[in-house]
């Protein structure tokens, strides 16, 4: 009864244009007061802080800052100029480049929102310039970033491995396969959209023009080179790479291209800070909301539901996917992983589901949770960094959610996609 009232309140607040932090925060606080009246209120402040005081989240503000510096300076322009010269004349070239860059970036970074923060500002102007609608461009960026959770390294898969004792190398190999399948599915959607909206390829550049754009962008290419090189050589972690990107952009824009001065840097730093604020305050409120859902008896209800209805693995995965989809709309992905996986994993293995297969089904579900409204972190990061309303992002995300659901069905019922590569490699 109270739960229904709180959900209704949240939807009303959402509809009437309350700030999202209130829409999430107020029902969570009321839930605490209604269901856990004796628990000290301090828990509210504790969980608000708990949502942002996480070292792996640091990559997000750093990538936001680096991308803002590049966009206000000239690195972004030079990089996108290169994309246009090299890919722009293929039909759908810029769209495919977006998916491809997210896959490449995902190969070093294990965080989807950080991927949106790092690449969004580079790719968005180029996508709209190539003729895609803003909606589609926003959806494509928010959705493509998911691939970073699947393509190794992936903190999601590491946590799953820790919870269940599954080989992380095997999960990584399976994640690579599933990530590629998802990437291809996005590329198909890009191609369809290219035909549908009639996005015209640019004129074919001469080899001279191509080389020229590469030459002009020497220091700009240095950016991905330093990040990829630094991570692969063991120089730094993905989170540290984000900070390196900031300093690299500062040095190149301030002293090499001289495109920015300190006054502008100050203003950009402030702008990036505000972007960080609006994303992280929602992480804080999400952590509060998720905590009270964790404490509720929901997971036991689910397990007993599954226990009562004798299911085969086909049925089981259908139910699991439905549960994760709904949970992913509201709860932060890490809580879903920590709360649901330990209770569901033994059931999955008892039905003969391969642990690696189950892990990838779970991971893909977590990915989908990142882009499903109302609480989808990738949506917020895209909205915050690209300064478009979250409704516009949501309006563009539906085709990608549909593609994800189709891919999820394929991954769920063709276990070989997840398990073949690990078996081959290990």
């Amino acid at each position: 009864m109270i739960v229904v009232a709180l959900c209704a309140l949240a939807f009303l607040m959402l509809f009437f244009g309350f700030e999202m932090l209130l829409t999430m925060g107020l029902p969570a606080v009321l839930a605490k007061l209604a269901f856990y009246p004796h628990m000290p209120d301090l828990v509210i402040a504790q969980k608000i802080m708990g949502g942002v005081n996480v070292s792996t989240l640091l990559a997000i503000p750093f990538f936001v800052f680096a991308a803002d510096l590049m966009a206000h300076g000239v690195i972004a322009e030079k990089l996108t100029d290169m994309v246009r010269r090299l890919m722009g004349h293929y039909p759908g070239g810029v769209g495919h480049t977006t998916v491809g860059s997210c896959m490449m970036f995902g190969a070093v970074c294990g965080s989807a929102p950080a991927t949106v923060a790092a690449l969004g500002r580079l790719l968005f102007p180029e996508l709209t310039r190539a003729g895609y609608s803003e909606k589609f461009a926003l959806g494509l960026i928010a959705a493509s970033a998911e691939v970073a959770l699947l393509i190794p390294p992936s903190i999601t898969l590491i946590i799953y491995g820790w919870l269940t004792g599954t080989s992380i190398a095997a999960l990584f190999a399976g994640g690579l396969a599933v990530g590629i399948v998802l990437g291809i599915a996005y590329m198909v959607l890009v191609q369809v959209e290219t035909w549908r909206c009639g996005a015209r390829p640019a004129a074919r550049p001469t080899w001279g023009e191509r080389l020229q754009s590469l030459g002009r962008g020497f220091w700009a290419i240095g950016m991905p080179a330093v990040i990829l090189g630094g991570i692969y050589s063991g120089g730094f972690t993905a989170t540290e790479a984000a900070a390196v990107a900031v300093v690299y952009a500062l040095v190149v824009e301030l002293w090499i291209y001289r495109a920015l001065d300190w006054k502008q840097v100050f203003r950009i730093a402030e702008e990036s800070a505000v972007t960080t604020v609006i994303i992280f305050v929602l992480l804080a409120m999400g952590s509060l909301l998720s905590y009270f859902i964790t404490l509720s008896d929901l997971q036991n209800v689910l397990v007993s539901f599954i226990g009562e209805h004798k299911m085969n693995w086909v049925m089981f995965l259908l139910v699991i996917n439905a549960i994760f989809f709904v949970a992913g709309m509201f709860i932060d992905p890490n809580s879903i992983l920590l709360v649901l996986v330990p209770t569901l994993f033994p059931v999955a293995t008892s039905l003969g589901i391969d642990p690696v297969h189950f892990g990838l089904v779970v991971c893909l579900n977590i990915c989908i949770g990142m882009i499903t409204p109302p609480f989808g972190l990738d949506l917020f990061v895209a909205s915050g960094t690209l300064k478009r309303s979250v409704e516009t992002v949501i309006a563009g995300i539906w085709p990608f959610i549909a593609v994800n659901v189709v891919v999820l069905a394929i991954i769920s019922y063709v276990p070989a996609i997840s398990t073949a590569l690990p078996k081959l490699l290990l």
């Binding site: 792996t56 190398a169 989170t239």
Partner: protein
């Protein structure tokens, strides 16, 4: 709002910890909860939340102080910020290799003093559970003391553990648990220290070449309760709970040792170079590390730390005679 089965309990407690449900600590806690339930006729209900569901360890310990949760079972290494005295347990080779002798220390004046040190920090510490010993892994050779020089090891956030590595010429790097696997793979750090079963569960053998079973660090679990909740219990229920923890402890230790043995087999089979350090090597490592780690400890724990170290050294001497 609670399920009917729990509505019957007069005293219910949420107890959080950070290990996965398959690990010995969680199994032990479930056993304790079951014993307590039986012996109090269902009046005391301990609900166990594994795998950091209730927050990271700092948040769970703090929550136990606030009373947002009623208890937590925490590795001593995560408690230094709350009670500097407990960090004495971070000092390498504090416990002898012999498990029975170690239990004597835990139960003796030294262990009691550690538990008492929590009472002025808004926590009730009722017992110490053993949770295995840390060993070293690295992608570079660890053949002798000199080999540590210049290597980078990941450690938990602790001054004492940083000094432990500095003492042998290695450097300590702090990296989040979730990023460690990848950091070992790409070579951001050369090595790490963890109990064997963690090395096996986290599959570090997939990304590490050498393991030396040094058993240099004791992983001690402190069982903590919220003072308000603890005092609300009738004295006999407090005893029942404390006794249940003591009863289950040997089983937890047995399971942990067994898990380490199984883990060692898994690690060997995976093709890692494995070497078990003999007593002489352990002595050498301990001698190299003890002084600096102890100094780092005393710097933070002050007079209270002096007292604990004195107690410890007296207990060790007694055991030696």
């Amino acid at each position: 709002q609670q399920a009917p089965a729990q509505a019957k309990a007069k005293f219910s407690a949420r107890i959080g910890h950070l290990e996965a449900p398959t690990q010995p600590r969680h199994q032990g806690l479930l056993k304790v909860a079951q014993l307590v339930k039986e012996r109090t006729k269902g009046e005391v209900d301990l609900q166990i939340f594994p795998s950091s569901q209730l927050g990271n360890q700092r948040v769970m310990t703090e929550g136990t102080q606030f009373g947002t949760i009623q208890g937590t079972v925490s590795p001593a290494a995560f408690l230094g910020g709350f009670d500097p005295a407990v960090s004495v347990l971070d000092i390498p080779y504090l416990y002898p290799t012999n498990r029975a002798a170690s239990q004597k220390l835990r139960e003796g004046p030294f262990g009691k003093a550690i538990l008492d040190s929590f009472s002025s920090r808004g926590l009730v510490a009722i017992t110490i559970w053993p949770n295995g010993r840390k060993s070293m892994t690295s992608n570079k050779p660890l053949a002798n003391l000199d080999a540590y020089k210049g290597q980078k090891f990941r450690v938990m956030d602790s001054k004492i553990l940083q000094e432990q590595f500095a003492a042998v010429g290695a450097s300590a790097v702090s990296i989040a648990f979730g990023e460690l696997y990848t950091a070992l793979q790409t070579g951001v750090v050369d090595g790490q220290e963890n109990p064997l079963d963690t090395i096996a569960t986290m599959k570090y053998f997939e990304v590490q070449k050498n393991l030396v079973v040094t058993e240099h660090g004791a992983m001690e679990d402190i069982v903590l309760f919220n003072p308000g909740w603890w005092k609300s219990l009738p004295a006999n229920y407090q005893q029942i709970i404390a006794k249940a923890f003591d009863e289950v402890r040997p089983e937890v230790e047995r399971n942990k040792e067994a898990a380490q043995q199984t883990a060692l087999e898994t690690i060997r089979k995976a093709g890692m170079q494995v070497r078990v350090a003999d007593e002489a090597e352990r002595q050498r490592l301990g001698k190299a590390m003890y002084a600096r780690a102890k100094a780092a400890y005393l710097e933070r724990a002050g007079a209270e730390g002096q007292k604990l170290v004195a107690l410890y050294e007296a207990d060790i001497k007694k055991a030696g005679n």
